[in-house]
Amino acid sequence: MRPNVRFALLLPGLLAGVSSFPSSLSGQEAHLLIVAGLGGEPHYQESFVEWGERMVEGALAAGVAPERVTFLAEDPEASPERIQARSTREEVEAALRRIEERSAPDDRVLLLLIGHGSGSGGESLVNLPGPSLQATDYSALLDNLAPRQIAIVNTASASGDFIPVLAGEGRIVITATRSSQQRNATIFGQYFVEAFSTEGADFDRDGRISLLEAFEYARIETERHFRERNLLPSETALLEDRPDGRGISDPGGEGEVGLLASRFFLGVETDLPDSPEPGDDSPLAELLEAQERLEADVRELSRRADTLEPGEYRERMESLLVELARIGQEIRRLREDPE
């Protein structure tokens, strides 16, 4: 099996990205709107509802307040406890208006589209009961939410053209397919929602799932889905979080694609390794500061791996990691028993 080089490249870059941004995101609220369109067949109707339910559960578990989660689907009776209304154009518009009214400018909004897609370019759409919203319609609706940070995840078939239409400053766009030409029913959505309910997507083991991690998890599992069944892949997921609207399937390795997505989390996490408060000279604060410094050293050493002899690299890395482990253990001990 090919060595998984991608992760080795992706994660340091991704976390380096995190460290270069202020960590104030954790104070913002996240809003989730899930829109499941027409299933067409019972099998898809059930799957779409199930994916939506799992996403709701994942979001709640991540700490999103229940009142900030909206799930619209073809048949609200399919899951009365979870689905608030039918996924018509009007209901989608109304839900987005409510988010606009109830959210602060520095909040985050995740719009998850599930269903069968069609059309192309600005007319790309996810089939909804009644008239559907096209990509350009979503773009206009989401413009109203500026300057909130917006993530649009279109897991439908033929979703690729959402990227050029919806990409923009402060926006993250994820699609299940590369273009409007990949029209087979997709599986990406199943793995995307699964990412929020499995620890397997927490690549850096920081206890939370970023949108980038969810994308990567879903992308890899989708590829595995086709490979294990010996099928030709009929979908290629893309991510774009820069304004240029190109989208790539491999966001860990090119430029800064994925940076914004790596900072986008659902909910507010409280048990993360914190940075010390300025002026705090308690033993815990000192340890946290040392931890932060050592973590940065690990990243730096990792970046310089190619410039060192393997033996020297390993020795220095081990030394840092052992020290970091001891500090981590001490931090956990102090947190459990501050006295």
Binding site: R2, E199, G200, R205, E228, R229, N230, A325, R326
Partner: protein, 853 residues
């Protein structure tokens, strides 16, 4: 299978020709028309009745002799020509044809004198005589001199603008011979042939030359076109039919035998056709029939080097080394640099799986002739089969430089480039080479299984093959095929060359379409059989035993009789046991090979039941001593082949009496059960399916009654019955991947971890690429406290590129820690922390490992 040789159009031409013959026979005595229609007998009567005095016209004699030569009446042809020469001394055309007749009879010195006389003439005949004299030099080992003579023809061509068709034929023939020194010259030869044909479309020798040239450059479609051009003009031309047969051989088409038969029907003394037929018989392991053809060939031409080479090869295959030396002496006496002799023997040796000997013979070919590219290539191909990879590549590179048209050499060299990226895994006894995409996930289990196979089979047969055994797995069917036969399109899944085994990777197919473990076991069984018999084991018994060993090795492994098999057996569509090898090599219908595997396994099962496994070993040792099937059966079983067939038939009908007698009821029960299932009437379906199961519990149909019963019980929620049905189902349909997974799930839910482990291990033997299976298995191993199993599974899971690599590394490190592999655990957990430095569980584990160390 490649496209069939003769398409409908060609047969139409032949049939039209024959139809015309009958018609013309009634209405016309025109010899040209008779010949065109293939009525040689009547044409000869018209051209020169046996009792008629010699014709005064040299042209009439030439025509008659030419036709006589074509049908192999060499003696009469010689007599006609000599008679005509009496009246026309020095006639170039007559002496040329006399020379050719004498060559056919093996009288080379006389032939040379005749050609020398013809050479004194003018025009095309003189040039052809010069060509044939040079060819005689080549045939008698004087290559340099021959090449000099051939070389002169280039000047002849360049200087003479007005060569006639026969002159151009001579130039083409000479330049073709020069192709061995410079392959580009083949193109010039083709151009000269084309010009010869343009001047005279009836120049059959030019058409045949084109066909042979294309055969030499492995271009079957164009070769076919050239031979067809002759057959359109002369429907039963023996050399054209022989050419078509060779095209069929090149394309691995079964039509080759019928075509060579057709050629020999017209000319029973056509030595190359007799030799071709002998080789086809040898391929089918019908040695005694082959020998008859060789005797006929040598009667027609006692010094035929190609017949002597095949005879020598046959004697070698039969272990008659003295006989081999005698034939070798005769062949090389005439031409000590006859690399073709060694090439032929090497090919025959390789065909019978004597790969190491094939290397030796090919090497002798290269030693006597440094331009014998085919010998270099054969040496290389067989070195690869014996595991000498670097040496094989080197030989093939030499061969391909000299013969860049050779598709076998090219394919194999391309494959070796692909294999440069392969990963090597393994133990001291089993080395596995896999595509990097398959990597550790496949290699882990292949090595384990290979070790077990060598232990079990070695103990059973009392033979330990030389180690390490090399196992190669290919992710592309085409690559596997090239590794096996040098060409794409082979329909097999695995091959054993003895110490080297190759098979397809399970990644190629949907889970359930291919049981890699069973296939590997099968091939390793061949490795042992080849070793026990010193590579003299015939197909029928090694295939039969290999399938039997599969069935012994794993639940539901290996082919077994099905309802279709029973029908074929009863309808006589399966050959008797004594003729089984032919079914593998020359099947009469598409299913015959599959049936032959089953039948041969049943024959070996029956022998073991009736006479004990020692008799099986005795048969193998008998083959190893060079005995024939008749002899080993007589010695070990005390019966003759007809009795073998008869007694097996009795055993088979008794053993399978219930399903054979109850076939109608069985099929009706399955049909009814299936219909009721489709209607959702599960309760009602069960009794019918149970009846079908009871009539034939070992039904291997993956969608047969056992599977359907499981389906019914699943729908009804009858867990206990579902478990039972699945267990019975996999006993005969072990490739059903989903059934193993379901069994594992049910066993796990019932807390039966050990049995769940068995089910998942069985699933991995079908495909090892399902990450979820490895995680489940690792957890189960942890549950039962089997640390080594847990480590293995987490290691493989890691190789399958899990999304949470840091988590996967941590789980592996944890398992390694508990297995006491502290150094490995430390290394692994550090890798996890390098990816996720604040991963708290991994940090704790690292500190625990350090404490322990």
């Amino acid at each position: 299978m490649r496209r069939p040789l003769l398409d409908g159009a060609v047969f139409l031409v032949l049939l039209q020709g024959l139809g015309s013959a009958a018609l013309l026979g009634q209405t016309s005595e025109d010899p040209d028309a008779l010949l065109r229609a293939g009525d040689y007998e009547r044409a000869i009567e018209v051209l020169g009745p046996p009792d008629a005095p010699p014709s005064a016209s040299p042209e009439a004699s030439l025509r008659l002799a030419d036709v006589l030569l074509e049908v192999g009446e060499h003696e009469r042809a010689e007599s006609v020509l000599r008679g005509a020469l009496d009246g026309n001394p020095g006639h170039a055309g007559l002496t040329l044809l006399l020379g050719k007749t004498l060559v056919e009879r093996g009288h080379l010195e006389e032939a040379d004198r005749a050609f020398a006389e013809a050479e004194l003439g003018e025009g095309g005949d003189a040039l052809l005589a010069e060509l044939h004299r040079a060819e005689l030099l080549l045939r008698t080992g004087r290559r340099e001199l021959a090449l000099e003579r051939f070389d002169r023809f280039i000047d002849v061509y360049n200087r003479s603008a007005g060569l006639d068709s026969r002159g151009l034929l001579a130039v083409a023939g000479a330049v073709r011979q020069l192709g061995v020194t410079n392959p580009v010259l083949y193109r010039d030869a083709l151009r000269a042939y084309d010009e010869a044909i343009a001047q005279d479309p009836e120049n059959f020798d030019a058409h045949l030359g084109v066909g042979e040239l294309f055969l030499e450059t492995y271009n079957a479609p164009d070769a076919r076109g050239a031979f067809q051009a002759v057959l359109e003009r002369r429907a039963r031309h023996p050399r054209a039919l022989l050419g078509m047969s060779r095209v069929a051989i090149l394309e691995s088409s079964p039509e080759s035998a019928a075509l060579v038969e057709a050629a020999l029907e017209v000319n029973p003394n056509l030595v190359p056709a007799l030799v071709t037929r002998a080789r086809l018989q040898l391929a089918a392991e019908a040695d005694s029939i082959a020998r008859e053809d060789l005797n006929r060939a040598l009667a027609a031409n006692p010094i035929s080097s190609e017949a002597l080479a095949v005879l020598a090869g046959l004697r070698f295959l039969q272990g008659d080394l003295q006989g081999y030396e005698e034939a070798r002496g005769r062949a090389l006496e005439m031409n000590p640099r006859d690399s073709d002799f060694f090439i032929t023997v090497a090919e025959l040796a390789a065909q019978r799986r004597f790969y190491a000997d094939a290397v030796q013979f090919a090497e002798q070919g290269t030693a006597v002739d440094s331009l014998a590219w085919e010998a270099f290539g054969l040496k290389g191909l067989n070195q690869l089969r014996t595991g000498e990879i670097a040496e094989g590549r080197s030989s093939l590179e030499v061969a391909f430089r000299g013969d860049p048209y050779n598709i076998w050499f090219k394919n194999t060299l391309d494959l070796l480039d692909v294999m440069d990226d392969f990963e090597e895994w393994g133990s001291d006894r089993v080395r596995v080479w896999v595509d990097p995409e398959d990597g550790e996930a496949l290699a882990t289990y292949m090595v384990e299984l290979g070790e077990r196979a060598l232990d079990d089979l070695g103990a059973l047969y009392g033979y330990d093959p030389p180690v390490p055994v090399r196992v190669e797995a290919f992710r592309r069917s085409a690559d596997f095929s090239v590794r096996t036969i040098g060409l794409t399109g082979l329909g097999a899944l695995g091959v054993s060359f003895g110490p080297v085994v190759a098979l397809e990777s399970p990644a190629i197919r949907q889970p359930g379409g291919f049981h890699w473990a069973s296939t590997l076991w099968h091939e390793l069984a061949h490795t042992v059989h080849l070793g026990v018999t010193d590579h003299r084991v015939p197909r029928w018994i090694t295939e039969g035993l290999a399938v039997r060993e599969e069935r012994r090795a794993g639940t539901g492994w290996g082919a077994r009789p099905s309802l279709t098999f029973f029908s074929a057996y009863l309808d006589g569509r399966i050959r008797d046991p004594s003729e089984l090898s032919r079914s593998f090599i020359r099947p009469r219908h598409p299913q015959e090979v599959a049936f032959a595997y089953v039948l041969s396994s049943l024959v070996t099962e029956w022998i073991e039941e009736e006479w004990g496994f020692d008799a099986v070993l005795g048969i193998l040792h008998g083959y190893g001593e060079g005995r024939t099937t008749e002899a080993v059966i007589r010695r070990e079983l005390g019966i003759e082949l007809p009795e073998l067939d008869e007694r097996f038939d009795t055993w088979f009908r008794e053993t399978y009496a219930t399903p054979l007698d109850g076939r109608d009821e069985l099929e009706a029960s399955i049909r009814m059960g299936r219909e009721l299932l489709e209607e959702g009437r599960f309760d009602e379906a069960i009794p019918h399916l149970e009846r079908a199961r009871d009539l034939f519990p070992e039904n291997p149909d993956p969608r047969g009654p056992n599977h359907l019963l499981a389906q019914a019980h699943r729908e009804l929620g009858n867990e206990e019955e579902l478990l039972g049905a699945l267990e019975v189902h996999i006993e005969s349909a072990g490739s059903d991947y989903d059934a193993h997974l379901k069994l594992a799930e049910l066993r796990e839910a019932r807390g039966e971890s050990e049995r769940a482990i068995m089910a998942l291990e069985a699933a991995i033997h079908i495909t090892p690429f399902d990450l979820g299976v490895h995680r489940r298995l690792a957890a189960l191993y942890r549950e039962v406290g089997h640390s080594a199993g847990e480590v293995r599974e987490y290691r493989v899971a890691l190789a399958l590129e899990p999304t949470d690599r840091a988590g996967a590394l941590h789980r592996l490190a944890d398992a390694q820690f508990r297995a006491g592999e502290l150094a490995e655990a430390r290394e692994t957990v550090l890798q996890a922390l390098e990816l996720a430095p604040l991963f708290s569980e991994a940090q704790d584990l690292l500190l625990r490992i350090l404490d322990e160390q």
